[in-house]
């Protein structure tokens, strides 16, 4: 009996051959950064439920230089996620017509990025002033 040996197309470095695929992979790579940030927040929530001492340990860990560097990385990755999401939205939503003309994809992307900016400024001021 012969053992079946199906052909498996090699997948190594396929995405490095084309700038479009590079951008795609970069976009997909934002997911682990979102997961890391969710984990950091989750640890914060658990420590908050354990009392002041545990919470302050979490808070002081955030002041470690390594944590600051990590958060700059997270900021870059999640901002890239935001921009690419607003680029994808017009491709997934139903076509919108304004005064008989199709709404350009770019307009949706710009509007989305402005929404992120507005929400960011509002959230920042809310945390700072309240």
């Amino acid at each position: 009996m012969t053992v079946r040996k199906p052909y498996v197309r090699p997948m190594a470095s396929w995405w490095r051959r084309n700038p479009f695929f590079m951008r795609y992979m970069l976009r997909e790579l934002t997911a682990p950064f979102v997961a890391i940030y969710a984990l950091i927040l989750l640890v914060g929530l658990v420590s908050l439920s354990q009392g002041e001492a545990a919470y302050n340990t979490w808070l002081s860990a955030l002041t470690h230089p390594a944590s600051i560097v990590l958060h700059w990385l997270l900021l870059v990755a999640i901002t890239y996620h935001a921009i690419t999401l607003w680029q994808v939205i017009p491709k997934t939503m139903p076509p919108v017509k304004l005064a008989g003309r199709a709404l350009p994809e770019r307009a949706v992307t710009v509007f989305g990025c402005l929404a992120t900016l507005a929400v960011s400024i509002a959230a920042f001021l809310l945390v700072k002033l309240l």
């Binding site: 498996v8 927040l41 929530l45 808070l59 958060h71 900021l75 920042f124």
Partner: protein, 122 residues
């Protein structure tokens, strides 16, 4: 005979909702909790003090916001990572093991977040 319905739309909806939330709130949250407050520029370190966060998480709206943010971020990341496995040469993305690992992690994160928020009380 009833046809078996796909569960894909549920995960896709969680992915989409988490993605939109991360796009709107992700950058500013990272900026506040991880950069300006710990460093103490533009935002006093008291902005994330125990008393303040405790009061926020005890209010129903704050509790809901924290739960939605943490859990949806997990579901978004889990779905995207699952579907990227094939791209990096791990050809088990359609398999039950990969699904259990990715969605299971998100579910675990969701359950822990809910348990912590309930333990904090109202």
């Amino acid at each position: 005979m009833t046809r078996k319905r796909s569960n894909a739309p549920v995960f896709w909806a969680l992915f989409g909702a988490g993605g939109a939330l991360a796009a709107l709130l992700g950058p500013v949250l990272v900026f506040i909790t991880g950069i300006v407050t710990p460093v103490g520029i533009w935002m006093p370190q008291s902005a994330l003090s125990y008393d303040r966060l405790l009061a926020f998480s005890q209010h129903w709206a704050g509790k809901a916001a924290l739960f939605v943010i943490v859990s949806l971020f997990f579901w978004h990341a889990a779905h995207r990572i699952l579907h990227s496995l094939h791209d990096v040469g791990i050809h088990i993305h359609a398999g039950m093991a990969a699904k259990l690992l990715c969605y299971g992690s998100a579910l675990l994160g969701t359950v822990i977040a809910a348990a912590a928020l309930l333990a904090i009380g109202f």
